[in-house]
Each structure stands twice: as structure tokens, then as C-alpha cells.
């Protein structure tokens, strides 16, 4: 039908443009692929539906991550249940978190501030709510040595983040008047969630909460996550598997208070204060 030459020229041009695109992308990928040797490791655990971070020095943070500006970090991603995707959109950090595998990705944070960490791979009911906060902080002032500054800063902020946990899981000073158990298997929808699921206490009582399940849970006041007053009256925050926490009812008015698990909102119960 003719004009074959014109078409060959066109195909040649398309191929040369694509070659340019491919070569450029390959080159940039090569540059960003490998983590520098001095990168600090942060272990990231994804599970339905929150993030846990563990720093090199063993400090744990749930739902927020404190890092230092100008330090390369290597993230080791593991999943406890289904596939998630660890994503910090402002830093173009993105990698799937696959159960049974450890994926790594590294990044150097060059701007201070608060950023969003989110999940990008559909992981179930609260996929949209699987978020965490990233705080990028200046290296602590006054220290010349960058590395020691990082340690101090990371340690300091991590303690702050972890203090909620340790505080919550510390053994109760006063003897508990009642015990609320979270039985094994509670994280699966349909299983019994709290034992007992409605309990009655007196004002001033302390309730011990034991998490016997293999997943983390909370006891948070409110009907569900849309309740504007959720967590205002009492909230244990995350109780890791096997840990325990407590609820102090000293400030509560008599009445009935529904509560739920902010990780698994289908877990509900209620507490009557007399």
C-alpha cells in the first residue's frame, strides 16, 4: 500500500524515544536502589490496620515514627497478616509489605515536619484508615557529632512514643476490681471479642485488661470510630499480644459506657458504672 518508509521512520522515532525513557529510568533506579552502608535500620510491621516501628536500639513506636533529618534509614518491612504497602507519599517511599518476606527500602529525609504514612495495598475493612504519622526532626542542637546527635534524638523521641505502651502495660499498682479479658481469636470478625462483653463496676474501680489474643487490641470508649467522643473518657491505646493494661474509672459519672477496639471496630462491649 506504499509509504512504508514513512512508517519505518515513525517506528524508529518511537523506539528511540522509548530507549531514552528506558535508559533514564534505569539509571535513576540504579541510583536510588541500594541503601548506603551506614543506614540505620527501622523494622516496620504492618498488620490490620496499623503500623508498628522498631528502631535499632529496640525502641518501639505504634502509629507514629520519629526520624532525624539527614540520616539514611533502611526500612525492613514485615507483615503479620495480609499484604500491605508502606507508603510515604511526600518522600516517594513505597514498597509492598508481604507476609513471609522481608522487603527493604531506604530513604534519607531532607525536610523536617510532619508527614503521612499510609497503606496503599487493599488490606481489608479499615484499609483507608491504616495510617501513621512521620515526624522528621532536626538533629539535636549543640552536638557536633552528627551520629551521636541522631542517637540522642531517635532515642529521645522513641521513648516518648513508647512511653504510652510501657505505661499502659505496667503492672497495676492497685489491685483490680474487675478483669476484662480479650480472648484468643478475638481479632476475627464474629468471634467473641471481650470477656465479659458487658461488665458492671463501681466508680473508682480499676479494671485490668488482659490481651490473650495474638493480635493487638484496644479498649476505647465510644460506639465506633465515628463517635466524636471516642477515647475521651478512657482508652488503653494499643495493648500488644499477651500484654495487659488497665482502665481507671475514678473520673467517670455513673452510667453505661459502650467501648470498642480501635484496631478492630467490630469488637464491641459495654461497661456500666454504678
Amino acid at each position: 500500500m506504499g509509504h512504508a518508509t514513512m512508517e519505518w521512520v515513525y517506528v524508529g522515532v518511537v523506539i528511540s524515544l522509548l530507549t531514552y525513557v528506558g535508559a533514564e529510568s534505569w539509571n535513576v533506579e540504579r541510583i536510588v536502589e541500594h541503601a548506603p552502608a551506614d543506614a540505620k535500620t527501622i523494622k516496620v510491621t504492618g498488620q490490620q490496620w496499623f503500623w508498628t516501628f522498631e528502631h535499632e536500639d529496640g525502641k518501639q513506636e505504634v502509629g507514629e515514627l520519629h526520624v532525624t533529618k539527614g540520616v539514611p534509614y533502611k526500612f525492613e518491612l514485615v507483615s503479620m497478616d495480609v499484604i500491605h504497602s508502606f507508603n510515604i507519599p511526600d518522600y516517594t517511599v513505597l514498597l509492598d509489605v508481604v507476609p513471609g518476606r522481608v522487603n527493604t527500602i531506604w530513604n534519607l529525609f531532607d525536610m523536617t515536619g510532619e508527614y503521612l504514612i499510609q497503606c496503599r495495598e487493599y488490606c481489608g475493612m479499615l484499609h483507608y484508615n491504616m495510617k501513621a504519622k512521620l515526624f522528621v526532626e532536626e538533629p539535636s542542637a549543640g552536638t557536633e557529632q552528627a551520629s551521636s546527635a541522631q542517637d540522642a534524638s531517635v532515642g529521645g523521641s522513641a521513648t516518648e512514643g513508647a512511653s504510652n505502651n510501657t505505661g499502659a502495660s505496667a503492672p497495676a499498682a492497685t489491685t483490680a476490681a474487675a478483669t476484662l479479658k480479650i480472648p484468643q481469636g478475638a481479632s476475627v470478625q464474629g468471634n467473641p471479642s471481650y470477656d465479659p462483653d458487658s461488665l458492671t463496676v463501681k466508680v473508682g474501680d480499676t479494671i485490668a485488661v488482659d490481651n490473650e489474643d495474638s493480635a493487638p487490641h484496644t479498649v476505647t470508649n465510644g460506639k465506633d470510630a465515628t463517635d466524636p467522643n471516642m477515647g475521651k473518657l478512657f482508652d488503653t491505646s494499643i495493648i500488644n499480644a499477651g500484654d495487659s493494661s488497665e482502665i481507671v474509672t475514678a473520673d467517670l459519672q455513673p452510667g453505661e459506657y459502650p467501648f470498642f477496639c480501635s484496631v478492630h471496630p467490630y469488637m464491641t462491649g459495654s461497661m456500666t458504672v454504678q
Binding site: 506504499g2 528511540s16 524515544l17 533514564e24 535513576v28 536510588v32 516517594t92 534519607l108
Partner: protein
């Protein structure tokens, strides 16, 4: 409908359209190179410490470079299609019926 190539006006335009993206890409990569050499010359005296790779900067830089190509090529392709739609539409007065072609699908 001959198989030999004649440099008709239409063919000239096709050639120009086809090569415009190549020219623009070579031009932009030349500009980007200029920038890089300028930076390199400035810091030539001081031995630069190993530049940390910032993922965000590298990736978005690549994105913008590719967008230059995409938008140039896109403008050419979409522009050509729009031009064809206006120039070769049935109702254009310049457009005479070509008896040799029409009804070929009968």
C-alpha cells in the same frame, strides 16, 4: 498509491511532525546537561563530599524530564488529530471528493 516515496507537501508535514519530538527531546536534554555542567564547574575546585542521594529529588526529577517528552509528543499527536478532523471533515470547502478512493469498501 505507488510504492515509491514522493516528497509531497503532505509527506513533508508528516516528516516535520514525526521529528519534532526528537528535536525537542535533544534540545531539553542539552539544556539539562548545561545546568549540570554549570553546577559541576562551580564545585570543581572543592572536592565535593559524596552527595547523598535523595530519593524524592531523583524520582521527581525523572518525572519532570519524562513529562516534557510526554507533553511535546502529546501536543504533536493530539494537534495532528485535531488538525485532521478540521481539515479533512466532509463539510470543509477545501475538501473535494476523491473519486479514485471513494467507495473502495464496496
Amino acid at each position: 498509491m505507488s510504492s515509491s516515496i514522493k516528497l509531497t507537501n503532505a509527506n513533508k508535514w508528516l516528516l516535520i511532525i514525526i521529528f519534532a519530538p526528537v528535536l525537542s527531546v535533544s534540545f531539553t536534554s542539552f539544556i539539562f546537561n548545561l545546568e549540570q555542567t554549570a553546577v559541576a564547574q562551580e564545585s570543581a575546585g572543592v572536592t565535593p563530599p559524596e552527595e547523598p542521594v535523595i530519593r524524592r529529588v531523583e524520582i521527581w526529577g525523572l518525572f519532570y524530564r519524562l513529562m516534557v517528552i510526554a507533553f511535546v509528543v502529546g501536543a504533536v499527536v493530539q494537534g495532528t488529530i485535531i488538525y485532521i478532523c478540521l481539515r479533512f471533515r466532509e463539510s470543509n470547502k477545501k475538501n473535494q471528493p476523491r473519486e479514485s478512493w471513494e467507495g473502495m469498501h464496496r
